[in-house]
Amino acid sequence: MSVAVAVPERVVRRRVDAERGLRGALLGLFALFLWVFLAWPMAQIVWRSLHDNRGAFIGLGNYVRYVSTPAIGVSITNSLGVASVAMAVTVALAFVYAYALTRARIAGRGLFRLVAMLPIFAPSLVSAIAFVYAFGNNGIVTRQTGFNVGIYGAKGIVLAEVFYCFPHAMLILMAALAAADARLYDAAAALGASRVKTFMTVTLPGVKYGLMSACFVVFTLVITDFGVPKVVGGKFSVMATEIYNQVIGQQNFTMGATVSVVLLIPAALACVIDRIVQRRQYALVSSSARPLAPGQGRLTNALLFGYCALVAAAILGIYAVIVGASLVTRWPYNFAPTLKHYRFDTIGGYTPLLNSVGVAALTAVVGTVITFAGAYLVEKSRTAAAGVLYMLALLPVAVPGMVLGLAYIFVFNAAGSVLNRLYGTLAILVISNLIHYFTVPFLTATTSLKQMDAEFENVSASLGVPFYRTFWRVTVPIALPSIVGISMYFFLNAMVTLSAVVFLVAPGTELAAVAVLLLDDAGESAQATAMSVLIIGIGLLARLVYWALLRGVTRRTQAWTTATQEPTSTA
């Protein structure tokens, strides 16, 4: 009875109206942005690594030379070694700390958490400078004890990196530990399992993905970091500093590109695995899970408290050294207080700091607009093209800053290119920050968009209201907490980043973090610490503003978000 009518594969296309055109145009702009500032530079760096310095194609010649020249090839094993050790130490230390903060009943948990977050507000090299002040040849500890630990080299890099990566690992592990299911612990207790056994069979497996994720994140942070090895590495060469040496020291751009591509591999690999692991972690959290109340034996609590106090004291100590060194006449010979280091006379005053604040603010504003609008356009237009853009937006997290910076030199410092005009401007610094830190905000925005009813746009279309109006009146207000978070993420990172911008600053566009590096390099460590103190101060201030903003937003949105809990008859 049923007639077999063939249904064509192609759909009847909608006529293009103004709104659809606008949507397409915006998506096109977003694609263009990602193409010019991400895909094309990355392609360039690969392309250049296959050529010699005169532009002749030599295939894998550079790579062969890289691994077979001991002087530079050693940076590969050095990088991997340092990153692995720092990863193991950081995750182990952070795990105990996170465990104490989530699972034990100890006093001052809020304070401990706050102190451990401090390293996030400083460029990575600040911790290295502090270690030099403490343990360097003229360090205060070295002078007091007469014992030189030999900070320059692998030892110093690991120490400083552990300090720098600690909060990142701690946050991931705290999240994993907080997601525990109390029912499993009840079951273990009912079966008479000992504490150690419960820890091995319940606690560890429960946070296994969190542990792995923390490992990958720390590994990536260390292997891509440039500031720390630059300051305390000495003659110990790692890949990130090798790129810098090749490009800035020897003007050997193609070898710089070659090292960059090799550095991409472990960083990208770690990111991909981390994403897979994170997806598993979500699947692990059951919706019927009962949260675990913190509580441990008395002795354990005391031990954990002691541990946290020790770690927090160490972190505070590092900061104390930085603040102290910036305020005394000449560390460690003359401790008379002075503010002269805050005059920054060798670098012409406050221009770098003001530039940094300006760039960070611009990055925050423009970055928030682009990531949120981009995520919106990609999420709402379910086409194959949008899928490609989504994948592209995930790429930056795997690109080390040094690699991005060098790629930008290739693209924006090429003679005869229109893009050349961007070189040497603050705009290029803003853009490189945007791309460098693109992925996390983009995913945050996507997640918050996915939580909204997919029919909002359809309802508006049926009411004859254009999508951009609904975007502004409904989508943005609902997502405001994430939007504030995104802008803060951009701001803080832009304040402290060094690796990408170190290749891109020019006379007049110096940045504070780069100034720290240059001052330290020039032997003006006191001014470097003064600059660090200001960077940290601005970061903390921004954090305060963020809290205030978030509270304001929460108060404004409370009316419609918590309404279900309190059905009041206001009408």
Partner: protein
């Protein structure tokens, strides 16, 4: 007497596929001005897809969509002039009830006072004026549904589309809203298409029902038509309850069920020897004294007595080998006169003009 005006909605040969899945094939139907039409069918039959094609939210692979004679097949949703209520309501959580309802009015040149007046009028219509300043999260499910309805109606669209608007509500609220929505639709005279998988909802609310199955239209008709004259076995099973008896056609108007030969309504396309299915609704089965002098009579044993409130459902089994199983509804008032209990033997009649013959053997569309 043909209506000179073109139908409010006309679909011609609409087809849709999602990759390898054919969601709709060759769907044609019309909805008259002011009519309330229900798309009814089991889950996954393509009702929502069809509604979204009418709305322009999903592009069809073939076919035309006309509204009031105008071909809108290639127009975006914003140019089709309809209001829509989704199953989730999709109310804007950050806007008050009044702002939600005003949402489609603000882009029109009505002026602040004009918008206010229209919002008040609509909130009166759905009895929500006192809740004007509340946020959606402060309303019950039924109230939210009414806000969504008011918002959809605010710009005075010529067509109202509803996708399972009542399915998220509990039974009591659903029943009340059924009547309220139907009354509202009558009062406004707005052409309405509603998707539902609840046959009772369709029977009570619709002027006409479009019964769908596996992406094709099985039957279009008034609730009474659909109920009394199901055109296929699928419709007979899906709408209401029906006794189905596997049979073999013997001659026009007669079929054999086991040892019995029964007369049935004339059915086109039935030839001698064909496997057919005879169907009769439980309330059409006559028992006891009422069956005594009728045609198509048999004797059956009462196997169960189920009290159902207004009526009682009897389970019956014809005597003899391979006796047919039947269900029969007896009105509460008639039951006392009948005086049956389990195990009793009663005469049963299947009136020939109530006994329908379907060509498909039972088991298809299972």
């Amino acid at each position: 007497m043909a209506d000179p005006r073109p139908p409010a909605v006309a679909l011609e040969g609409v087809a849709k596929r999602f990759g390898g899945v054919i969601a709709l094939r060759d769907v044609s139907l019309t909805v008259a001005e002011g009519e309330f039409v229900c798309f009814l069918g089991p889950s996954g039959c393509g009702k929502t897809t069809l509604l979204r094609i009418v709305a322009g939210l999903e592009p069809q692979n073939a076919g035309l969509v006309r509204m009031a004679g105008r071909d809108v097949s290639r127009l975006p949703p914003s140019q089709r002039n309809y209001g829509i209520v989704f199953q989730s309501y999709a109310l804007f959580p950050n806007l008050t009830v009044a702002r939600n309802v005003a949402y489609g009015l603000e882009t029109r040149r009505l002026g602040r006072a004009g918008v206010e007046a229209r919002v008040d009028a609509l909130l009166d219509l759905v009895h929500l004026r006192p809740h004007k300043q509340r946020y959606p999260a402060q309303l019950s499910g039924g109230e939210q549904q009414r806000v969504a309805l008011a918002r959809a109606l605010a710009p005075s669209p010529s067509l109202l589309l509803l996708d399972e608007p009542l399915s998220a509500l509990d039974a009591r609220v659903r029943l009340a809203l059924r009547h309220e929505m139907k009354a509202l639709q009558r009062r406004l005279g707005i052409t309405t298409i509603m998707v539902t998988h609840d046959q009772e909802e369709a029977l009570t609310m619709a002027d006409r029902i479009v019964v769908m199955n596996h992406g094709v239209v099985e039957q279009i008709g008034t609730p009474a038509d659909i109920y009394t004259e199901p055109s296929s076995l699928f419709v007979a099973r899906f709408v209401g309850h029906m006794n189905l008896l596997p049979a073999t056609a013997v001659q026009p108007g007669r079929a054999r069920v086991g040892a019995l030969t029964l007369r049935h309504r004339p059915a086109p396309g039935v030839g001698p020897g064909m496997a057919v299915t005879l169907g009769i609704r439980p309330e059409e089965v006559r028992v006891g004294a009422a069956a005594r002098d009728l045609d198509n009579r048999l004797t059956a044993r009462v196997t169960s007595v189920q009290f159902q409130g207004a009526f009682t459902r009897l389970g019956l089994r014809g005597l003899g080998d391979g006796g047919v199983a039947l269900e029969c509804d007896v009105a509460a008032t008639a039951l006392a006169d009948l005086g049956v209990k389990e195990g009793a033997e009663v005469p049963v009649a299947l009136a020939p003009d109530a006994l329908r013959a379907f060509v498909e053997p039972p088991g298809t569309h299972a």
